[in-house]
Chain length 209, copies 2
Amino acid sequence: MVVRPSRTSEHTDGRTAEVYQTAAKIILQKGYDATSVSDIADALGITKAGLYHYIRGKTELLYDIMKYGLQELDREVMVPARKIADAEERLRFVIATHANLVTRGDGAVTILVDEARALSPSQYRAVTRLKRAYLEFLRETIEELRAHGKLRGVNSTVAAFAIIANVNWLSRWYQPDGGLSAQEIAGQIADATLFGLMKQGKQRSLQAL
Amino acid sequence: MVVRPSRTSEHTDGRTAEVYQTAAKIILQKGYDATSVSDIADALGITKAGLYHYIRGKTELLYDIMKYGLQELDREVMVPARKIADAEERLRFVIATHANLVTRGDGAVTILVDEARALSPSQYRAVTRLKRAYLEFLRETIEELRAHGKLRGVNSTVAAFAIIANVNWLSRWYQPDGGLSAQEIAGQIADATLFGLMKQGKQRSLQAL
DNA sequence: TCCTACCTACCGAACGGTAGGTAAATAGTC
DNA sequence: GACTATTTACCTACCGTTCGGTAGGTAGGA
C-alpha cells in the first residue's frame, strides 16, 4: 500500500506510507478498538509521542486508511470497469478484481468493511457515501443485465449485496498458503455469483478444482 | 432471545435472560470493544457492580451470548435440516432458515460472526470448533449434490463460504422497515446462491420484486 | 437467619493525547 | 566552506479519563 500525496496529510514520504501500512496490518489483525496507538508505535519501533508526529489522531489514522482503500477500489476496479461495454463482462471483471484486491491484502480495502463504526459522524458519512457509490455502480450494472433480458428474477439490491458479501467475506477465510490460489477463488466466486444471477451465463472454463 | 438453563451460568431466571438480551442488543449496535460494562448496566437500570451479580466477566458474557447463538443455529437450522433427505431441498432450507435467524435479529447469531476475536484463546477455540462444524455440514451437503451430479464445477469450500457470506452479510444491510421483507430476501438469497452452484435448479417461483 | 439483588465507593491498569525537550539533518546567508 | 536558522524526527514524562473488576455494605423477602 503506497499512500499518495494528498492535501489532508502533510507528510507524504516513505515513512508515512510505512506508518499507514503498519497500522493497517495491525488493525486488520486485532481490530481497531483493540489496537492501541502504542501497539502501532511499537511495531514501528518508535514511541507513541513519536507516532503522533505522523498522525493527527487515532480516528484520523483510521479514516485516512479507509480513504486510501476507497481510492484503491475506485482506481483499480471502478475506473477500468467503466471502460468495459458489455455488462456481463464488466460485472465479472468487477467481482474478480475486487476479490483480488481483498486477497492481495494490504488491508485498507478490508478495514473499510468492519471498522466504519469507530469513525466520527462526519467521517462516517463521507465513507458511507463512497461505499454507496460502489453499491450503486453494481446495481446499475445488474439492471443493465436485466434490460438486456439476461437477468433472472432477482432483486438488484439483493444481488449487489450478494456480490459485496462474497467478496468481502473472502478476507475472513482466505489463506495465502491454503489449497486454493487467490485467482482460482476470485474466478470461482465471480462465476458462481454471476451464474446465480443470470439466465444463461457464458460459463467460463473453470480451473482445476 | 431466551437463554436456556445451562450448567455454565448459575442464574437461569428471567432477569438473567434480560441481561443477555440487553447486552446482545448493545454489543450488536456498538461492537463489543466499544461497549462498556457500564453501558449494559445503564441500559438495565442498575449499576455496574449490580450487573456483576449476573455475569462473571465481560468476555464470559460475550462467550455465553455466542454459545447461545450457536445453540440457536444448531437447534433451529442443523437439527431440522438433517431430517431432510434431499440435499438440494436441505440446502435451501438451511440458507433460508439461517437467513431468517439473522434478520429476526435478537443478536446472538450475528454477534458470533464479528466479535470472536475478543474471546480468550480457549473460548475462541470452542467457538471456532462449533463454527467449523457448521461449515462442514454445508460442505457435506454440497458434496452430496456433486455426488448426485447436480453440482457445477465449483469447489465446495468456496461454495460453503459463499453461503455463509451471503447469510451473515444480511445483518449489515437488512432493514426491517425497508422495501423487502425478510422472507423475500431469504428466499432470493437461497435461490440465487443455489442456482449459482447447481447445474439445473428447480427454479422456485419468486415472490414480487 | 439466610439469601437474593442490588448499592456506594473505590482500585490499578490502560487508554488517547500532549507539553516540552533534543539531536541530527537541511536550508539560507555570507 | 563556514556559520546560523529552521525544520524533521523523534524522545521522556505526564495528564485526565475510562476501563474492567471488587470489597464491603444493605434492604427486603423466604
